[in-house]
């Protein structure tokens, strides 16, 4: 398989962000296929060792890096184990005076998958 390095970045971006396509060829075809542009079709490619595909390193590295940087690292997950409120006020410091703060928060949330 020969990867066209110049076109790798817009190709992957078009996959990760379909609306942000930068490859002008995207707009000239009714169907855009990453595998078509890579010159690599997993369905027609012969598997190695039964379950592997042989893919050029730069393509794999670009897919992994861009997928992580543009999508996975940006998913706005919140860790419930560490969720805290931080309270701060410009009151006169004193260890004898105590104050009470109370609030009720309504939190809407969803899990990433069922």
């Amino acid at each position: 398989m020969q990867g066209d390095q110049v076109r790798v970045f817009p190709l992957i971006l078009s996959c990760v962000f379909p609306r942000a396509r930068t490859d002008p060829f995207s707009y000239n075809t009714p169907h855009s296929k990453n595998w078509d542009r890579f010159g690599f079709s997993p369905q027609s490619e012969e598997k190695v060792e039964g379950s592997f595909y042989r893919i050029d390193k730069p393509i794999v590295q670009s897919v992994v890096n861009q997928l992580y940087d543009n999508v996975i690292a940006r998913l706005p997950f919140t860790s419930l184990n560490n969720l805290k409120l931080h309270l701060q006020s410009n009151v006169e410091p004193s260890n004898s005076a105590t104050h009470n703060c109370s609030m009720q928060l309504k939190i809407n949330y969803r899990y990433p998958q069922n």
């Binding site: 997950f77 860790s79 969720l83 009151v91 004898s96």
Partner: protein, 241 residues
């Protein structure tokens, strides 16, 4: 409660984009029509019912804490609950109490009491990294409040964070505030670049190492990539437009 709201007037909603097939799991043949609409991952139950994403759940959480004036001046972090993951998972089918990763789709302030004679800035560590806030908008408006403590920093500087910088401001309590609010939104996230497909396809991946799972370098220029790897699925991706 008062807020310094920095949000710009809302632009009209963009027209719904054309849908496309899922990138990660080719559930349909390459020639098949659209598989899923690209709705926001923060959409409520009405929208999520069209997809296989989990529905949006709601919990009311009361935080009641006593702090010394010194602690308040220096800033104090208070856990929402010691068993928050169990509270959030209770009664939800297929979710265990060990599931601690959620996407918060909104926070409203229901009621508040404070006997502090000065304003109290309230912030929360909703995110683990700055990257998670990239492209993330708060329809309620990110809150920029004056640095709460003169010990902390420049008193006249307005900031959108509290604590060590990992907390985002949610609200500012008035001196001696006692109020019961009605749907006072303090965090209403939207995101222009991520959608439900991303959450569904990549929600179970947290680290870059997981993307490299099973990939083996065989020569200086070639990898063996498992057929089921997300890398192959991305390359196999077909979009219709």
């Amino acid at each position: 409660m008062s807020r310094v709201n920095s949000s710009a007037p809302h632009a009209p909603a963009a027209p719904e984009a054309a849908a496309d097939m899922s990138a990660a799991v080719p559930r349909e043949s390459l020639g098949a029509p659209m598989a899923m609409e690209e709705s926001s991952l923060f959409d409520s139950a009405d929208a999520s019912s069209r997809s296989s994403l989990s529905e949006v759940h709601t919990r009311n959480v009361v935080v009641d804490t006593n702090l010394t004036a010194t602690e308040l001046n220096l800033g104090k972090s208070v856990p929402l609950s010691r068993n928050l993951a169990a509270v959030f998972a209770e009664g939800i089918e297929g979710v265990s109490a060990a599931s601690s990763k959620v996407v918060i789709t909104g926070i409203t302030l229901e009621n508040v009491f404070s006997d502090v004679p000065k304003r109290v800035a309230v912030s929360a560590n909703l995110f683990q990294s700055k990257a998670q806030q990239t492209g993330l908008k708060n329809e309620a408006g990110w809150l920029y409040s004056q640095q709460s403590s003169e010990l902390a920093s420049e008193a006249s500087e307005h900031v959108a964070y509290g604590g060590d910088g990992s907390f985002v401001n949610l609200c500012s309590l008035l001196p001696f505030e006692q109020a019961r609010h009605t749907a006072c939104a303090i965090y209403t996230p939207t995101n222009s670049s991520l959608n439900q497909r991303h959450l569904q396809d990549y929600g179970n991946i947290s680290t870059k190492e997981q993307l490299w799972d099973g990939i083996v370098a065989v020569t200086d220029s070639t990898f063996y990539v498992p057929a089921e790897s997300v890398v192959c699925k991305v390359i196999r991706y077909v979009s219709f437009h």
